[in-house]
């Protein structure tokens, strides 16, 4: 069964419900053509008595808190594309069957994943993470898979799939056509459904199932301009070729998610953003790549948007990690207005080595976790607050070190210029002291250096003991005879 069909029932509604964390909010979608009719309603709205096809005024009377959204066909097509991108994790051969179906040719992936049932199970779980309800069905031909998915019934084991196909109701013949003229009529689309007049004719002839249509004489159907039905059924049965155009995933990831109600709650925003990150993760996995930078744009109600740049220290394709970084960034962000749309954009996927799995744990895991901690700390505290130290070759104590944000370029540290003892703690700036409270130990170490960069010093450094017998590092400034300063402590 090499074809898997993913059909999204109530697609006009799903583009809004997938970003909705709270399922109790009644939500309805209005048809753009017939403004006064409800096209689809979610479970909470249906429970209050709203149904598809109901007049808008009646629906509002039944559910006063009903939130209404106009249908957005462009978004529906975009969601279909997003799912096609996501499906790249199962097979490179994905085909779109507008308006609401994605077809996957899984013949070559069966062995890798371990069978049809495993793929179907993983696809179902993955779609739930994307926030999408879908009907899945497998069949040897793409059209048959579409039809089984449309009816919500899979061919049971033991029965020949062609027999199961004969039992499908007549309505599946029209399932590919949505009757929406705004959608582009592609070649494949035109050939996957028959017109409403043909369906009416067949219904009038008394045919109730595909099997009954097949039993009708072909010559008679041709005389009534209905020969296309025969061709369609032949394709579904695999008797005629059914070529499909392959979907090509875009080179750059850019997807939007419309929030059902404008909000500024970071938890609600994060919930919706998680859906996008899951999708991004699948897009990256299909390419065996990772990203180290992506941009989440928060589009305000009204106008304007707040861009949120999410920068990682190393390429990653982990949705959970991206969501954690975003949580820290969102927590700090001040939003001027409520958000109605989230848009996630990513470019330049970076090549990433495949993870080798090991019986004794993953080898690179510790390193990955270390880099993740660095990303989290930086996202919350800012880049300047998280640093690393490196020694510098300089005789002056205060410039003999530097901080570096990134991994040092060379692992070879600069050689130390002195073998003398240095304190483990250095004061940020030398502090003037009363020399009578310190006992000097040992001989002076004279440091005179820095004439070339205005940081000229002339100092005699001593080990010293304080009253509580802790050791510290003091110096006598040769430029001022009374100048005694504390510069470090031997921790």
């Amino acid at each position: 069964m090499p074809w898997l069909a993913i059909k999204l029932p109530e697609l006009p509604l799903q583009i809004f419900t997938r970003g909705l964390a709270d399922e109790d909010t009644p939500l309805g979608v209005i048809d753009s053509g017939r403004r006064n009719r409800i096209l689809a309603a979610n479970g909470a709205a249906c429970a209050q008595g709203v149904f598809a096809g109901q007049a808008l005024s009646a629906a509002q009377a039944m559910a006063p808190k009903l939130q209404l959204q106009a249908r957005q066909t462009a978004r529906e097509a975009a969601l279909l594309n997003e799912i096609a991108c996501w499906a790249g994790r199962f097979t490179p051969r994905v085909s779109l069957a507008p308006p609401d179906t994605v077809l996957l040719e899984i013949g070559a992936s069966l062995r890798l994943f371990g069978g049809v049932d495993v793929i179907r199970q993983q696809a179902r779980e993955g779609l739930l993470q994307l926030g999408i309800e879908a009907r899945l069905a497998c069949a040897p031909t793409p059209l048959a898979a579409c039809w089984f998915a449309a009816c919500g019934q899979a061919p049971a084991g033991g029965i020949d799939w062609r027999e199961a196909l004969d039992g499908l109701p007549l309505s599946v013949l029209g399932s590919g056509a949505d009757g929406d003229p705004a959608l582009p009529q592609t070649l494949a689309h035109a050939a996957t459904a028959c017109s409403a007049s043909t369906l009416e004719l067949l219904d009038g002839l008394g045919a109730r199932s595909i099997g009954a249509v097949r039993a009708l004489p072909a010559a008679g159907l041709a005389r009534r301009q209905a020969q296309a039905v025969g061709l369609l059924i032949a394709r579904a049965r695999g008797e005629q070729p059914d070529p499909r155009p392959w979907f090509e995933p875009p080179a750059r990831f850019s997807h939007e998610l419309a929030l059902p109600a404008p909000t500024h709650h970071s938890e609600a925003l994060l919930f919706a953003a998680r859906r996008l990150f899951t999708s991004l993760s699948a897009w990256l996995r299909a390419r065996h790549a990772g990203i180290d930078h992506c941009r989440l744009s928060l589009v305000h109600e009204g106008s304007g948007e707040t861009p949120l740049d999410i920068v990682l220290g190393h390429p990653s394709d982990d949705a959970e990690h991206l969501a954690l970084i975003t949580r820290e960034r969102l927590g700090m962000q001040v939003l001027p207005a409520e958000i109605c749309i989230l848009r996630l954009e990513a470019e330049h996927p970076l090549e990433r080595g495949a993870h080798a799995t090991d019986l004794f744990g993953t080898p690179g895991q510790a390193r990955d976790e270390a880099l993740r901690l660095l990303d989290r700390l930086r996202a919350r505290l800012g880049d300047g607050a998280v640093r690393r130290l490196a020694p510098l070759a300089d005789h002056r104590p205060e410039v003999a070190w530097k901080t570096c944000g990134e991994q040092p370029r060379s692992s070879q540290a600069e050689p130390s210029l002195t073998r003398n003892l240095r304190p483990l703690w250095l004061l940020p700036a030398p502090r003037a002291i009363d020399p009578r409270q310190y006992t000097l130990l040992g001989n002076a170490e004279r440091i005179e250096s820095g004439w070339w960069d205005e940081g000229d010093i002339h100092r005699d450094y001593y080990l010293a003991r304080r009253d509580d017998s802790s050791l510290c590092w003091v110096f006598h400034d040769l430029a001022s005879p009374d100048g005694w300063f504390l510069h470090g402590c031997f921790g």
């Binding site: 270390a370 640093r387 530097k402 483990l424």
Partner: protein, 224 residues
């Protein structure tokens, strides 16, 4: 009764007169005198450890140098909100892998607490050193839990005055400098109260502080 107790499986019952074995692993301190007094014979690998010192510079970093030297190649040594600057050339000379040292300087006490908890809970740190301003008991308990779950030793530096306040940390040590060494009073441990303080001498340890001892001796000779 004594025979009954001896026949019990190890670790099931802890007798107050013996040192308990901490649930996680043990990390040797590098100082045999201190190891002998600590439950299990070293730092507990998954616990909040309080080190109380009057001011920075009594020898608290030298005490942890052996542990810092052994930090794994892929884990951090996190220094959160240190009061002074850890001096890179001295650390490098003491053998601390500087490329693994993470210096975190948060802008507020709340952020420092957050960073300490994140660093500990992530399990990506070999050890966490933190200087928190005034953590309350609930915060300390959360830190202790994070350390326990991720098996990361978390060293919290506080002032000597905090010795009288209760703390959920299973190990509390008070540090005071002595001439050429460090005096450690074990305030709390899982075991009988410590009879006497542990005295460490830096001269026993083969660190760079050898010179300090030599310098001290020379000076004392001159004075005497």
């Amino acid at each position: 009764m004594a025979q009954l107790l001896e026949n019990l499986p190890a670790g099931l019952v802890w007798q107050g007169s013996h040192l308990a074995l901490p649930p996680g692993g043990i990390l040797p301190t590098g100082f045999p005198a201190l190891d002998a007094e600590l439950p299990g014979g070293g730092w507990p690998a998954g616990a909040l450890i309080e080190l109380l010192a009057e001011h920075p510079g009594v020898g608290e970093l030298s005490l942890l140098l052996p542990l810092m030297r052994k930090a794994g190649a892929e884990r951090w040594i996190a220094c959160i909100a240190p009061p002074l600057l850890p001096y890179a050339p001295a650390l490098a000379a003491a053998g601390v892998p500087l490329q693994r040292l993470l210096l975190v300087q948060p802008s507020s006490a709340a952020e420092a607490l957050w960073a300490a908890r994140q660093a500990t809970a992530s399990g990506a740190c070999a050890l966490v050193l933190t200087w928190l301003a005034r953590p309350d008991t609930a915060a300390l308990r959360r830190l202790q839990l994070a350390a326990e779950e991720s098996a990361t030793p978390l060293f919290l530096f506080r002032t000597r005055g905090m010795a009288h306040h209760a703390s959920p940390a299973p190990l509390r040590l008070a540090l005071a400098p002595t001439t050429g060494g460090l005096r450690i009073d074990i305030l709390k441990r899982r075991g009988p109260p410590a009879a006497r303080p542990v005295l460490l001498s830096w001269c026993d340890d083969t660190t760079a502080t050898n010179d300090a001892c030599a310098g001290t001796a020379r000076r004392l000779a001159l004075v005497g």
